[in-house]
Point group: C2
């Protein structure tokens, strides 16, 4: 391989929540490519570097930008929020990478919202869980619905990413309606907003209440499994099942 | 609250893969409690501190140890490998914490094997996924089987934690048999061993081949969804579905 691109997960936003290897990869880069919002979070620390961006939705262009910079001989890193391999750009980079066989890709993991949001709520994911995105930008709603049904059927704790956006009002209510057809309305749930950024907020509610909660694109939603309890304002999922419940 | 315990996820093992806030929480502690293997990984850095441990399986005792140390006025941290809230001790700490209302618990997230293993394999979790433990120590096998079926039904990418141990030989084969009743035998899968430690190994195979692979308690297993491909030795799950596949 002639050159290498680091695909870096920066975690929820605060620099303290990045790993040392993620910081080191950015520090040794000449060019950092990313969505504007994430570059802004980093710009204080990486003043001397070339910071390149494309508008939202232009993910393919952003990936090609990385390969072209690396081709020029520049040490290049692509940053994604959370973990670059969980709803991030890692997969698209590998696909476009087929056209750039001289470039090696190295993914550096970061703290994803399932982990960082769970920590703020207590321990809602302390047993088997599913992560589901409610965005139907690239996935037909029928598939999302099928996954929600399967997650309820399997008694998984569930994390919902992208529960809403300006164009997708009402998606969380639709998802809750699907879950409510299988789960009890009192099932404990949690909401986290702006994880690792200014204005972090958490809340605990029932599945029925969740249905009508206002959420935005910075919200992550947690739905408990059959063992989950709200204990002292925290959402706690047991690490197993009592033997007699088998 | 009179005192506070940090419940710290140390990631897969290498210090570079810890977050700065996890390192800071350990640095400011007087006592670090954890399973011996993890304390050994940290002992070089934290020489001046009291390092306390209990043998494996004595998790409840280890938790109580934390609360008792904190009660004495010592700054206390409990370390878990990966993320403390994902098959870690966070949930048990909150349960035992009911008896210690004067102690505040703060969970500091870490990189879990789903993230760190996925990064080594490429991008197998770049869409909705499930995390399932094959350990039936605290969960009846019937529940695990039901979750595997649900995960296949939902076309989730799947991560298997604890695929084997000395007492649970053959569990991965049993899990694969359940998945093979719903998924094609050629479904791309991946294996990672000793993530972030000496002797890291990765491998790509089909679901049929996975059935007969030797795994151990340091292996994490990845099973692709219907879009997953092996590209140049990496396991890549598409970030969406083509519209016509709806």
């Amino acid at each position: 391989m002639e050159n290498r691109i680091y695909i870096v997960g920066m975690g929820p936003g605060r620099e303290e929540m990045m790993t040392r290897e993620a910081l080191a990869a950015l520090e040794q880069s000449d060019v950092i490519v990313g969505y504007t919002v994430y570059l802004d979070l980093l710009s204080g620390r990486f003043k001397g570097k070339e910071l390149l961006s494309t508008p939202m939705r232009q993910e393919e262009k952003r990936c090609r930008m990385c390969f072209e910079e690396a081709k020029k001989g520049k040490k290049t890193a692509l940053v994604c929020s959370g973990d670059a391999g969980i709803y991030g750009m890692a997969s698209l980079m590998y696909e476009i990478g087929k056209e750039y066989p001289q470039t090696e890709l190295v993914v550096i993991p970061g703290i994803t919202a399932a982990s960082s949001g769970a920590a703020l709520l207590g321990a809602p994911l302390n047993h088997d869980f599913c992560v589901i995105s409610l965005s139907d930008l690239l996935t037909p709603w029928e598939r999302i619905a099928r996954r929600l049904k399967a997650a309820a059927e399997g008694d998984f704790a569930i994390v919902l990413y992208n529960p809403s956006s300006r164009k997708r009002k009402g998606y969380l209510a639709r998802a809750c309606d699907i879950l409510l057809s299988a789960l009890e309305p009192g099932r404990p749930c949690g909401i986290v907003e702006n994880i690792g950024r200014e204005g972090t907020k958490t809340g605990i509610c029932t599945l029925q209440e969740l249905r009508d909660r206002e959420v935005n694109m910075f919200t992550t939603v947690f739905i408990g499994n059959s063992t989950t309890e709200a204990i002292g304002g925290k959402l706690i999922t047991k690490r197993g099942y009592p033997a007699e419940q088998a």
